[in-house]
């Protein structure tokens, strides 16, 4: 069954066309990767799916779990099981990681008709998940992403994903800013979430991450469209030959 179906998606920012007809279907159980040069529209695609304001959808449709995703509020998308791991996680001074995650989890549980977790249950859950990601107690108590290194921020994204257990996780350049050890830890966290009822969309600029999160399908996004799709070998080919074959030259 298809988890998400993106059809002929066009989006503009400030009147500038960024997405120019994206078609992509991810079935439950599949991991798809999107690769592409800088400025191709990868982050834009992830933001449009998550519902960020400032994008105008000029054409196309997105169906998520049978629902019209584009007409849903941001938080409704999250509650329906969509999760975006941000390329640039946002700092929120004054709101602790624990409070943030507890509010998020309980809001999502509420829309699913589940009882909220109490403070003890929640703490137990978050501690276990944090341990999997080698995160310290101190990190989960601190204000959201404030004073976190680039790698810690990405780990924090992985922690949120592990706690919220989404149906579709979109990872936008989760590998950027990570050293190899952190990359392995985060990839392991992501792999733990793989399952027959879940799907993933892994956005990356480099092939390296795909050594650890092995995709079923690889797509190339260039100039706002998916210009090529293939198996995991496509990633290797791109690594070797670059994106020039798709009519784009990359700034070094």
């Amino acid at each position: 069954m298809s988890l998400i179906e993106i059809k002929n998606l066009h989006a503009t920012v400030d009147g500038k066309a960024i997405l120019k007809g994206v078609d992509l279907t991810i079935n439950a159980g599949e991991v798809h990767a999107i690769m592409g040069p800088n400025g191709a529209g990868k982050s834009t695609l992830s933001y449009v799916l998550a519902g960020r304001e400032g994008y105008e959808i000029t054409e196309g449709s997105v169906t998520f779990g049978g629902q019209d995703l584009l007409s849903m509020e941001i938080e409704e998308r999250a509650a329906a099981g969509l999760f975006l791991a941000f390329q640039y996680p946002v700092e929120i001074p004054g709101v602790s990681n624990t409070t943030f995650l507890k509010e998020a989890l309980n809001a999502i549980r509420k829309t699913r008709g589940e009882a909220p977790l109490d403070a003890m249950q929640f703490l137990k859950l978050i501690r276990a998940k944090a341990k999997d990601l080698s995160m310290t107690d101190d990190m989960i108590k601190r204000a959201v992403n404030v004073g976190f290194s680039g790698g810690e921020k990405k780990r924090n994204e992985a922690l949120q994903m592990a706690v919220l257990q989404p149906k579709l996780a979109i990872l936008d350049e989760t590998d950027s800013g990570l050293d190899i050890d952190a990359l392995k830890i985060v990839a392991e966290g992501v792999n733990k979430l793989r399952g027959p009822e879940r799907g993933m969309l892994v956005i990356t600029h480099y092939q390296r991450l795909l050594d650890y999160i092995v995709p079923d399908v690889v797509h190339v996004l260039a100039n706002g469209r998916i210009v090529k799709s293939g198996g995991k070998d496509l990633a290797l080919e791109l690594e070797a030959n670059g994106y020039a074959q798709f009519g784009v030259t990359e700034a070094a």
Partner: protein
């Protein structure tokens, strides 16, 4: 003619004078002075942003007989209330107050018994001292540390559809080496129109400590005009905080004179307002002597067509070398119509000082909102989280944890009710 333009709300002033009881001596002279000087218009620099003209719309009547007013709940910041004085419509209610069990050396009483000296400076102080018949006194003897916070509770009440005016006086005197915590509550019902014109005179002796907190949660048709004057002696610690939530117009004017070396003054506040409310926090921190520290953090949230005023003046006198002053003023604007008038003023006459100040006004951060909502937190809850975090930075200034938690809960209730 000039004088005329510097005055406003003349109709209100006339009503006040007409309703006043026959006064003799200094009080009579004070009232006459007030009648002549009138209330300051926005042409007077210190009142540039806060307009008292609306007082003219009130029809004043006598305050109700406090003894006949039923009081359902007495606000408290404490789990178990300690010593307190309760005033209803400006009048002392002995039956609701608790003044037993105070250690020797502590005086906590209604002011009625004490003579109230006439105050000259400013029309509102003059009005207060001419008409004030009641108020609160707390005196703590040298070296005494009063464990339980003292609460001063002012509950509004009006008679019929006439507005009432009361002029409570607060006197707090913490002698050398003593310590006390005072929590003021000013509360009222939304439907009641009244004017509470408060004057507080505070002295903190050598190496004494006073934690002085105030919650202003008047009814939304109320005028709350407070004037606090604090004198600090050598090595004193003064930790004060005002939380402005209520009133149609609230002005909290606080002047502190740091009149000795080694003083630490923490003068902070927060506000959360909406509708057509005006919250004015006007402070003067007067560094008269060397080696003192002052710290001021004032933050607030403005929604609807509400307007906030912050005027924060710091004077460092020629003598006051090695002064360390810090001031931060931040406003969060939640609507297009919300407004902040911020006027920080540093007057520095000494050369070896460290003084910094900063002022910002902004909206809720869109990226933060998106991030929270992208994790499933609904828009409103996300706003509450961000507003709470914003105000927390000011509330953290409150040293007493119990009071801090209570003020935070009150601010959260405000956010939840929006």
């Amino acid at each position: 003619m000039r004088d005329e333009q510097n005055q406003t709300a003349k109709g209100f002033v006339e009503q006040v004078v007409a309703l006043a009881p026959a006064l003799s001596g200094a009080r009579g002279e004070g009232l006459a002075r007030f009648a002549k000087a009138g209330l300051p218009s926005t042409r007077v620099e210190a009142w540039k942003f806060t307009n008292l003209r609306g007082l003219d719309k009130l029809t004043l009547g006598p305050a109700p007989d406090a003894a006949a007013v039923t009081v359902d709940a007495i606000p408290t910041a404490l789990e178990t209330p300690g010593p307190r004085l309760v005033f209803v419509a400006g009048q002392y209610r002995a039956d609701l107050s608790r003044v037993d069990d105070l250690p020797d050396g502590v005086v906590l009483s209604s002011l009625a018994a004490e003579a109230t000296p006439m105050l000259g400076d400013g029309p509102l102080r003059t009005l207060n001292s001419a008409l004030s018949s009641q108020g609160a006194v707390l005196r703590v003897a040298a070296g005494l540390k009063l464990a339980s916070p003292v609460e001063l509770v002012f509950i509004a009440a009006t008679a019929g559809d006439k507005a009432a005016l009361w002029n409570p006086r607060i006197v707090i005197d913490i002698a050398d080496g003593a310590e006390a915590t005072v929590v003021e509550h000013h509360v009222g019902a939304n439907a009641d129109a009244y004017v509470s014109n408060i004057v507080a005179d505070v002295t903190v002796g050598i190496a004494a400590r006073l934690h002085h907190y105030k919650l202003q949660a008047e009814g939304l048709d109320a005028w709350h005009l407070a004037n606090v004057s604090t004198h600090l002696a050598q090595d004193a610690v003064y930790d004060t905080f005002v939380l402005n939530l209520g009133a149609r117009l609230a002005r909290h004017e606080a002047r502190q004179v740091l009149d000795g070396t080694g003083i630490e003054a923490r003068v902070s506040g927060a506000y959360a307002i909406t509708g057509n409310q005006v919250s004015d926090i006007t402070t003067l921190i007067d560094h008269a002597k060397p080696h003192c520290t002052s710290r001021e953090v004032v933050k607030g949230v403005i929604d609807g067509s509400a307007r906030a005023v912050f005027q924060g003046k710091i004077i460092v006198r020629p003598d006051a070398q090695k002064t360390d002053g810090y001031q931060l003023n931040r406003a969060l604007l939640l609507s297009e119509q919300a407004e902040i008038n911020s006027k920080p003023e540093l007057e520095i006459y000494a050369d070896d000082v460290k003084c910094s100040h900063g002022a910002t006004a902004g909206e809720l951060d869109e990226d933060q909102m998106f991030y929270l909502r992208a994790r499933g937190i609904p828009r409103n809850a996300a706003r509450v989280l961000l507003i709470g975090a914003f105000l927390d930075e000011a509330l953290e200034e409150i040293i007493n944890e119990t009071v801090r938690a209570y003020f935070r809960a009150r601010a959260e209730a405000w956010m939840g009710a929006r």
